[in-house]
Amino acid sequence: MAMRSANGLEFEAPIFQLEQQLTELERISPRLESTETAIREIRRQLAEVTSETYSNLTPWQVVRVARHDDRPQTSDYLHLVFDEFIELHGDKLFGDDRAIVAGFAQLDQTKVMVIGHQKGRTTKERIACYFGCAHPEGYRKALKKMQMAAKFGLPIICLIDTPGAYPGIGAEERGQSQAIAENMFEMSRLNTPIICVVIGEGGSGGALGIGVGNRVAMLQHSYYSVISPEGCAGILWKSHIHAEKAATALRFTSRHLKEFGIVDDIIEEPLGGAHREPRQMAIRLKSYLSRTLRELKQLPSDQLRNLRYEKFRRMGRFLEEQTGVSDPLANVR
């Protein structure tokens, strides 16, 4: 069982209460028949309440779940999904950004390159990782490793989990925008399968900087947005307190993005969210990755590149008077 932090989510309070009751009852031994019945009853209630809560999460609640302290991070999946991980550091230009990890890994029998945002768990780790906000050297590290992967024919798996690229003086001095732009430019040219999965927060350009893939998937309770709800509220409503409103307006939950055709797949989370059952989550992620990889490996490399281009080429909603269609590809071919 995952460690529970004290600062749980307030909408989880009823679930929390039942869970505590259950733990206490389970501690009693020897158990009487009446205790057994009570345990069964609480388990039933727990499943009901959890499923009720989690099937009706508001967009803002999704954000809270996506940011949950106990939500599995890239480092957890590196343990739980992959058989081996050989970390490769550094962008060979400036430094090693801890907010992005990269390295060789084994997925079942397949050798792959894994790139992922890392937020850190302890305070010390979080500070070292800038809370998952990468600097330009992080994006350049990711790019160097991805290019190497393509050179040796290794598929690439990107795990996206960032509030956004780091906003700071050093980041600007070292070309944050140039780094992100270059990553999208180069990722579109790589001759190898790329699978991107948003595992928590998909924060704007910081996410897209490792987000140009043949398949883009999201965990059920993650979000992927052009701007953080707080940022959006600050600009449009002039105050961060309207973040909840902004979260609803931005329509960034996995369900919306699937409808919009922006993400290809939603990976269902265990009942009560990934933070409740990290192992179960890892199994589902692993099976998705294996299955998708098997599909993509069938395709010749130049076709992978073209399909990736067409996938992103289609994105956008506008009206065209001449043809009356809003399919961007209709006019291009």
Binding site: R313, G316, F318
Partner: protein, 297 residues
């Protein structure tokens, strides 16, 4: 349903059909950055300037060469040979895929902006001549919802890059955007960054030339996509260019930002732009650069 503002189309039509662009037509409406009136004060040197003098110098201060805001239409007039501009994809209209509503519905905001600026969205694209060299030319206007990139801007620039590749034309994009990606269109806006960037990558693979010109301001998702991807990146003097806005950075790190932070000069010093070019020399510089990078036979 997207309703079309009645005012926006004829103006752009004039632009492409007549070939001659009247400055006056675009200066009638109040523009952000250039207040109405006979006189205006230069933010650079505080001098009181006669508006006509500034207009004649394409929006630069006669005293200190401060670069004022210039609308997309005037950029076309400024950089392309007279009567050569042929607009592409002028009929693309923005939509409201999220039914977005902050203080007012996005659809109303769009109409207001269209009325105010005479544009359909924040970008104009097409082909024209720069000193008799045919180019694919795009410009974003920072007055239309902060010059932010929504689906229409992304699509027009993508098609521009694709046609530049097809027709083997040099690609010139003048960026002005204080907003980056347009949050009113949510995730669709974000994806335009990838869409345009990959089209530029294809242009690159076909050995096409891309010159990116950065103007005040070029921020966020625009800076972090097409604006930074030029083979050659030029910038007008003292433009604000960067990824995160100064206010966001200040709020995050809680220290004062150094003087001159995120200006063209700052970027030049840190190695991210090739040249700072004053507006009066921009056209001739671009022409010369094209000649160096013309395709080998």
């Amino acid at each position: 349903m997207q309703r079309r503002s009645p005012n926006c189309r004829p103006k752009l039509r004039k632009l492409s059909n007549e070939g001659v662009v009247s400055t006056r037509r675009f200066m009638k409406k109040p523009k952000r950055g250039v207040p109405e009136g006979l006189w205006l004060r230069c933010p650079g040197c505080e001098a009181a300037l006669f508006r006509n003098d500034v207009d004649k110098r394409m929006g630069t201060c006669p005293e200190c060469d401060y670069h004022f805001y210039l609308s997309a239409a005037r950029r076309v007039e400024h950089l392309l040979d007279e009567g050569t501009f042929e607009e592409w994809d002028a009929d693309l209209m923005p939509q409201d895929p999220l039914q977005f509503c902050d203080k007012k519905p996005y659809i109303e905001r769009l109409e207001e902006e269209q009325q105010r600026t005479g544009m359909r969205d924040a970008a104009i694209t097409g082909s024209g001549m720069i000193r008799a060299r045919r180019v694919a030319f795009g410009v974003t206007d920072s007055a239309f919802i902060m010059g932010s990139m929504g689906s229409v801007v992304g699509e027009r620039l993508t098609r521009l890059a694709e046609r530049a590749t097809e027709q083997e034309l040099p690609l010139i994009i003048v960026s002005g955007s204080g907003g980056g990606a347009r949050m009113h269109e949510g995730i669709f806006s974000l994806m335009q960054m990838a869409k345009v960037s990959q089209a530029i990558a294809r242009h690159h693979d076909a050995r096409g030339l891309y010159i990116s010109v950065l103007t005040n301001p070029t921020m966020g998702g625009v800076a972090a996509s097409f604006a930074s991807l030029g083979d050659i990146v030029l910038a007008e003097p003292k433009a604000l260019i960067g990824f995160a806005g100064p206010r966001t950075i200040k709020a995050t790190i809680r220290i004062e930002l150094p003087a001159g932070f995120q200006t063209s000069e700052f970027l030049l010093e840190h190695g991210f732009i090739d040249r700072i070019v004053s507006r009066d020399k921009l056209k001739s510089e671009i022409a010369r650069l094209i000649d160096y990078c013309g395709k080998l036979a």
